[in-house]
């Protein structure tokens, strides 16, 4: 069989199985995007955003070698909650997702390479899903590892008391909740920034507006709060931060919803925004000179 016959045979076989083709295309997109974006020098900023708290905790564990009182575990649990809820959910994951997900399409426009994907026999919706999944994998891999490292560093310094808190107490459950919320934060913010990058040539300004919205959302009615990512994340956090002092302006005050509703709500929000992105991408044209 010559090469043209085998190409024709492969093509007709793939046309008969579009879902298999879509899955294979998504897998290729994910592999190429992850390879291009996760371990490159240009993405060092995202790694820093994820690992800054870990480095602080590590330094704290190394240099603060005073006798450690097991009763301090509760206090450190609040510190960890603060790091995760105030730093990661509000800033770290937010800005990393802004960088990762807006770059997926807009960055390729800036680099003048998006046409290679637009000239492939790939449905635009498949392109959106593939790139979104790649962004999600990058963000989740970065921040899940960082959150896990923060958790380990927080409790490891307490020795057996720490082990007991993690394995016999609420520790392991709290870790699970944080990891779940971290993954959902990546999906939620990722979907929003992907859509913004398809709507605006410069998504920085709408990104700043989104940050403002996520901050002030708690003062809005309940239905409006449900349009913010942090609304759902708050209900997945195992430790409630006390609302006092300067922290009060960051802390979400929302009507309680069950974790199941929070997970489902955030997933629905992400999927709705992704569907919108699938419509938006059809408007996108390759006009690099306009960028």
């Amino acid at each position: 069989m010559n090469i043209q016959e085998s190409v024709a045979r492969a093509q007709s076989s793939l046309q008969e199985q579009p879902w298999r083709l879509f899955a294979s295309q998504i897998s290729v997109l994910v592999r190429t995007e992850v390879r291009r974006n996760l371990f490159t020098r240009r993405r060092i900023g995202f790694h820093l955003l994820a690992w800054i708290p870990v480095l602080f905790l590590l330094a704290h564990n190394i240099f603060d070698r005073r006798d450690i009182d097991p009763a301090q575990i509760e206090n450190d649990t609040f510190v960890l909650a603060g790091i995760i809820q105030l730093y990661y959910f509000r800033l770290g994951i937010f800005f990393a997702c802004m960088g990762i997900f807006t770059w997926l399409f807009r960055g390729e426009m800036v680099q003048r390479t998006l046409h290679y994907q637009f000239l492939a026999p790939v449905r635009k919706e498949v392109l959106v899903i593939g790139k979104f999944l790649a962004g999600a994998i990058i963000s989740i891999a970065l921040f899940e590892t960082a959150v896990f490292a923060c958790f380990c560093l927080t409790y490891s310094r307490f020795g057996s008391a720490g082990r007991s808190y993690v394995f016999d107490g609420p520790g392991i459950g709290q870790l699970g909740s944080y990891l779940l919320a971290t993954a959902l934060a990546s999906l939620g913010y990722g979907a929003v920034f992907l859509a913004l990058s398809l709507l605006f040539k410069n998504p920085i300004i709408p990104g700043a507006m989104l940050l403002g919205w996520e901050t002030i959302a708690p003062i809005f009615p309940s239905w409006a709060q449900r349009l913010s990512v942090t609304f759902y994340l708050k209900h997945l956090c195992p430790v409630n931060l006390p609302i006092e002092g300067p922290m009060a302006i960051f802390t979400i005050v929302a009507e309680p919803v069950s974790p199941f509703v929070a997970v489902l709500g955030l997933l629905c929000l992400a999927i709705t925004i992704l569907v919108l992105s699938c419509f938006l991408i059809h408007r996108l044209e390759i006009t690099y000179t306009a960028e």
């Binding site: 085998s6 190409v7 093509q11 046309q15 997109l29 026999p121």
Partner: protein, 316 residues
């Protein structure tokens, strides 16, 4: 407009970038073979190619490529390969990966993609340097690796935007041979180029563009015949140039008959080439002169370009 599944059809296509005209009211259909888009910078050649391949959408009208539109991306882009003018590559990629991964995106498996990648690299003469980073390639190598990617999946329609730019004479000649081989297989090859001599040599037909409009389209000889404002130039090499020149001057449609410096050739400018060839037959039959060769002197793309677009057609 009617169209068949072997043609590329532009049906009243216009494209505006805001208030700026890209192309306007483009209507033509192309059969398989080599078609050259010719026109000065900013005439709309790249816009036409981007419209054809779905990178931009028409403001008005419709485009059909072998009966397909870019709204059917899976079927459409299996048939179309586009080597753009954008000299940019995914950061950090090497020549091999640049071809291999898009083939995987086509849905080919690893073995098939490897085979097609190696074949495309071989055809473009890039097999030896395939594992080097594209960032380290010369301009000609970057041009050839883009060409290799465009042909790797064996498209039926190959669109090439200035494919000869940056190539040395050897690579240029190899590329032209490759285009001709592809066209001989019954495929469409659409080329935009400033190098009119080469376009002229390889094209089956031309589309001449100026300021967003198609000013002429068709086989080069047909287009030349359509340009009635400019008399056709015919070069005749014969045994008695003076006698031929004086006989030619007696015809109304002959506007000039110039004896060239070799003394054996006459350059005739006539508004009716058919009448002139009848005269030539009569003279030869009567044994007045012996004709060695007759050749049109200006039915090439360069002349048509000069007549219709008004510049010298040299690269800008």
């Amino acid at each position: 407009m009617t169209h068949d599944a072997r043609q590329i059809v532009f049906d009243n296509v216009s494209k505006f970038y805001g208030e700026v005209l890209g192309v306007n009211k483009v209507n033509f259909s192309l059969d398989p073979g080599i078609t050259s888009l010719v026109g000065p910078n900013g005439s709309g050649k790249t816009t036409l190619m981007n419209l054809l391949t779905g990178l931009i959408k028409p403001s008005r009208g419709a485009i059909y490529v072998l009966g397909l539109t870019p709204q059917q991306p899976i079927e459409f882009f299996r048939q179309v390969g586009y080597c753009t003018q954008f000299d940019s590559f995914p950061p950090g990629t090497n020549g091999y990966d640049f071809i291999y991964w898009p083939l995987r995106l086509h849905g080919f498996g690893h073995d098939q993609s490897t085979k097609l990648t190696e074949e495309a690299l071989e055809r473009a003469g890039m097999a030896q340097v395939a594992r080097r980073k594209v960032a380290g390639y010369s301009k000609g190598m970057r041009q050839r690796i883009r060409l290799a990617q465009a042909i790797a999946h064996h498209p039926s329609v190959l669109v090439l935007d200035e494919p000869l730019n940056g190539l040395d004479p050897m690579a240029r000649s190899e590329s032209i041979a490759l285009f001709e081989a592809i066209a001989k297989q019954g495929m469409h090859v659409i080329i935009s180029s400033h190098i009119l001599e080469e376009v002229d040599r390889i094209s089956d037909r031309v589309v001449l563009m100026s300021s967003g409009y198609v000013v002429a389209e068709g086989q080069i000889k047909e287009v030349r015949r359509e340009v009635r404002d400019h008399p056709m130039q015919i070069l005749v090499r014969c045994s008695n140039a003076a006698k031929l020149a004086s006989a030619a001057f007696e015809l109304d449609h002959v506007v000039e008959a110039k004896i060239l410096s070799d003394g054996q050739s006459v350059l005739v400018r006539t508004r009716d080439a058919e009448q002139f060839s009848l005269l030539l037959n009569r003279i030869v039959s009567a044994g007045l002169v012996e004709v060695d060769a007759v050749a049109p002197a200006d039915d090439d793309v360069n002349s048509i370009y000069q007549y219709l677009i008004g510049s010298d057609g040299s690269p800008t």
